[in-house]
């Protein structure tokens, strides 16, 4: 095994699925030497209060993020398109929860 020294441990993002939830939600990050190590540490740090029934860990440097400077171009154009929200329809009662 070739475990990097403590100061070289890469950063991991932690996602936890709660008992009620269907999706894994981002809950934080931690340093760990490899994936099983990150999973074990995530269990000890982020699920102590019964928060989760499943954990994902992802190397932070594998995440491609949008640039903060692109925020206006990326997201502002959606601001005035309220017709994209399905709020102008009457939903028949028998459909139930959507």
């Amino acid at each position: 095994m070739n475990t990097p020294a403590l100061k070289d441990w890469p950063l991991w993002e932690v996602f936890v699925r709660s008992k009620q939830g269907l999706e894994h939600k981002h809950c934080g990050s931690l340093h760990a030497s490899d994936a099983p190590h990150a999973l074990q540490m995530a269990r000890d740090v982020y699920t102590r209060r019964q928060e989760g029934v499943s954990i994902w860990v992802v190397p932070s440097n594998n995440i491609t993020a949008s640039a903060p400077d692109d925020k206006d171009a990326m997201f502002d154009p959606a601001a005035d398109k309220i017709y994209r929200h399905p709020t102008f329809y009457d939903i028949p009662e028998e459909v139930g929860h959507m």
């Binding site: 095994m1 403590l6 074990q40 540490m41 740090v45 102590r48």
Partner: protein, 268 residues
């Protein structure tokens, strides 16, 4: 306390043995709280301690309910008994250090913590699994709960033993030294005692001698994966479970019991 091995006293002695093991190792591992090598391990060891103290609480409560003497309680059993009354393995009261008399808390060695947690958790996974079928229904229920916790403790300790053993030259040397230091104390796991013999006879306790071969295989497997050498366990057989302890238990109890003794019957 009745020093004759009457059936009732022996039955309770076995429960106290299990409880004292858990509370003393829980107290020892809690010493890392705020001093862990990294934040995640700090939390992992605190989690481990809380599991162990939780196990001890259930067992002490069970003893108190068996005694029905109106005097015993989990707090009385944990905080108002003295060194000769404690029946934990000597292994569990030793400091986190390979030196016999560490001079400061700075001497704490994580490799010793990991080696001890591995050796003890490997045993207790087998013991709790056996005790799930105990003739004492309450003990069987405690065993079922404790088994899940101990399986994680074993996984955590084994993982670190392999990482440190198969890590750098320094971590390998420290892990080997920790194992060399602690292995002889595991002889006490298999030494027979009146309380265990009686508990096994009634179907209430676990016969550790029946578990020894499996434990040996678990140790060999982990030691090999960690590129370590399994040390000899020969030498002095410690006697903590008989109430005859090392000099270290008194210091552990002094710290653990001081608050309860300064404020008897205080409540949250």
């Amino acid at each position: 306390m009745n020093h004759h091995a009457t059936p009732v006293a022996t039955y309770q002695d076995y429960l106290l043995h299990l409880a004292d093991n858990a509370v003393i190792l829980g107290q020892r591992n809690a010493e890392w709280c705020g001093h862990g090598p990294v934040l995640e391990e700090d939390l992992a060891l605190a989690n481990n301690s809380l599991d162990l103290i939780g196990q001890a609480r259930l067992l002490y409560q069970h003893v108190a309910s068996v005694r029905k003497d109106g005097r015993s309680s989990e707090d009385q059993l944990a905080y108002f008994r003295d060194v000769p009354d404690f029946k934990n393995y000597t292994l569990l009261e030793l400091p986190h250090s390979t030196a016999l008399a560490p001079t400061s808390s700075g001497d704490r060695d994580y490799a010793v913590t990991i080696a001890r947690n591995f050796l003890y958790s490997a045993l207790m996974v087998l013991v709790w699994d056996t005790l799930k079928a105990s003739s004492d229904a309450q003990l069987a229920a405690i065993a079922a709960k404790s088994l899940k916790e101990t399986q994680y403790h074993l996984r955590h300790a084994r993982d670190w033993m392999v990482r440190l053993g198969d890590g750098t030259d320094v971590s390998h040397a420290k892990m080997q030294a920790a194992l060399d230091h602690l292995m002889p104390y595991t002889q006490e796991f298999w030494a027979s005692s009146a309380m265990e013999t009686a508990a096994v006879k009634t179907g209430m306790g676990a016969d550790t001698q029946q578990l020894q071969a499996t434990w040996n295989a678990m140790v060999d497997d982990a030691v090999t994966a960690a590129t370590l050498k399994r040390p000899s366990s020969a030498g002095f057989v410690s006697t903590g479970k008989l109430g005859v302890h090392s000099e270290h238990l008194g210091f552990v109890l002094a710290e653990m019991q001081s608050l309860a003794r300064a404020h008897p019957e205080a409540v949250w």
